[in-house]
């Protein structure tokens, strides 16, 4: 075995150990979600349950829950999907136009406007919480999914605008000029030339926008009060306060809520690294 091969093997073993240890907390959540509630309370804990209990998944995925347990979860999931889907769609359209202006057009105030957009995504939500509460109250948009979409857009748009601007810059201007010589309007060239060439950027923008909207908690916590508009993060936080004796139920809810973003992240891994070099970084 050559020295290089030996180093590689050592690296692989380290990576395997690190990867497995890193995922242990999640693994335990998965096990706990199918362990009978009484077995979870045993001391010493048996790590592998003697029988599996899928009851919690049934409870949270049944409308109204099973005997009230898990009630509201399905509604919250529907709200999360609704809010995320519409927020992402509007944010994408709005920022494709805006990003084109930033990447291609020369105009007075361009730099300062971009800097302003960029600084808004540093702004703490807590700084806007109090007046937004008053404003949404006046507009009768409290406890409404549209109210949430409105405030979420302000979080998502600066972000997608910044990612897309950076991607549009990487599309060679000559391609667009050629299309315009052939008679395309600016918007035609944006649609036929820039967008197809910036496809990885668009996928990245959609992915990060979805994460932001799916993960948003503080606005949803303050601006919603019933399951007409409560989203999954609020529901999970409530679960974890309400079902203190059955961690398995919280774990099951959490895993279902984590499924969409985890699947998307796994499917579009490449876009994560490239997106981060384009400036997409958000906890």
């Amino acid at each position: 075995m050559t020295r290089r091969k030996r180093t590689q093997l050592a690296v692989e073993i380290t990576a395997a150990v690190v990867g497995i240890v890193y995922l242990l907390p999640m693994l335990w959540s998965v096990i706990a979600s199918v362990t009978p509630a009484s077995a979870l309370l045993e001391q010493p804990l048996r790590w592998i349950p003697s029988q599996l209990d899928f009851g919690r998944y049934i409870a949270i995925l049944t409308p109204g829950g099973v005997g009230e347990t898990g009630a509201g979860f399905l509604e919250a999931m529907g709200n999360s999907l609704f809010v995320a889907a519409i927020t992402v769609t509007i944010a994408l359209v709005v920022s494709i136009f805006g990003a084109y202006a930033f990447a291609r057009l020369k105009f007075a105030g361009r730099r300062i406007t971009l800097a302003l957009f960029l600084s808004t995504y540093m702004l703490p939500q807590i700084a806007l919480l109090i007046p937004l509460y008053f404003i949404l109250n006046q507009l009768s948009l409290l406890d409404s999914r549209w109210g949430l979409i409105l405030v979420d857009l302000a979080l998502v748009v600066p972000f997608t605008l910044w990612i897309l601007s950076n991607y549009f810059l990487t599309v060679p201007e000559e391609l667009e000029d050629a299309a315009r010589v052939d008679g395309c309007t600016r918007m035609g060239a944006l649609w036929r030339v820039v967008l197809p060439s910036a496809r990885p950027g668009i996928v990245t923008a959609i992915m990060f926008a979805f994460f932001l909207a799916w993960d948003e908690f503080l606005y949803a916590l303050i601006f919603t009060s019933t399951y007409a508009s409560k989203t999954l993060p609020v529901a999970i936080a409530e679960f974890s306060g309400r079902y203190t004796t059955d961690f398995g139920l919280v774990a099951a809810g959490g895993l279902v809520a984590a499924l969409p973003p985890v699947l998307i992240a796994l499917a579009f891994q490449r876009n994560i690294v490239s997106g981060m070099s384009a400036g997409a970084i958000k906890g």
Binding site: V11, A15, V18, Y22, L23, P25, L40, P44, L45, W47, V94, G98, A101, F102, A103, L105, F107, A108, T113, A115, L116, F117, S119, T120, M122, L123, P124, I126, A127, L128, I130, P131, V151, L153, A154, S165, N166, L169, F211, D215, F217, I222, L232, I236, S240, V250, G254, L255, A258, P261, V262, A265, L266, Q269, I272, V273, S277, G279, I281, G283
Partner: protein, 309 residues
Amino acid sequence: MTTRTIRTPRRHTSATSQVQTRFAWLLLAPAILVVFGVILYPLYRTVLVSLFDVRSALDPSPAFVGLGNYVAMLSSPSVWASLGRTLYFTVVSLIIEVTLGLCLALLLNAPMRFRWLFRTAIVIPWALPTIVNAAMWKGIYNAQYGALNAVLYQLGVIHDYVPWLSEPWRAMNLVILADAWKTTPLVAFFLLAGLTSIPSELYEAAEVDGLGWWKRFRAITLPLLVPAISIVVVLRTVEAFKVFDIIYAMTRGGPANGTAVISYYTYQTAFSDQSFGIGSAMAMLIVLIIAILCMIYLRLIRSSEMSLL
């Protein structure tokens, strides 16, 4: 118009640039409307509220108190204590995230078989929603059924189950750990993006020169990674300074306010105590601190290769 075709390229004539300017603002209008409508106007209202003694959302004519709320805020020991906790949270989080994140990034970038599998494993915690992460760790730390107790008990490290989150100092450290578990992969992937942009010829040359692993790291990797590290440090500082979600879901600021960071304390002051005026003053304090961090950030990306600004 004829001079244009002869002398200057079309982008630089004033007529075209005026058309371009108008067109640019038209394209930006929806984004400006959405973002600044939901941010700048409310921000202005926050400033306004911070100058009044607002006790309820419905108060029609609250009393004007000028800078009274700011004076009250700055003379409150709890505000300073929560700022101190926020600083502690930020500094310790950053040290953990950047150190471990750098190690993880190097490992993610190292040549190996099944690299995609390792990357997959590390991506998962990052994709987990913050509240789900918080609920999971709250379960792990639980006094009756938590996995941490079970592990330590079965290893013989502890002989009685420990209520991990019931002591302020320990709760803070454990919340930081839970937060770092989710955010370290983010830092790692950001640094990985920086690592992959280092030309491999540099390493090959260094290897020809007979430099060892550590020397190559010191001479090539670290200096070329400095821009990425500084950006990630500033961005994570801002995010850590704003921390709210994980605190709310894990400890609600407790025990004994041990994890009440400034965002949480602001939320409590405004929405539990209904002191919207002082709450707004505290929010402005957070904005001020983050604005300072933001300026550092803008300076950093302007000096890096991102060419938009």
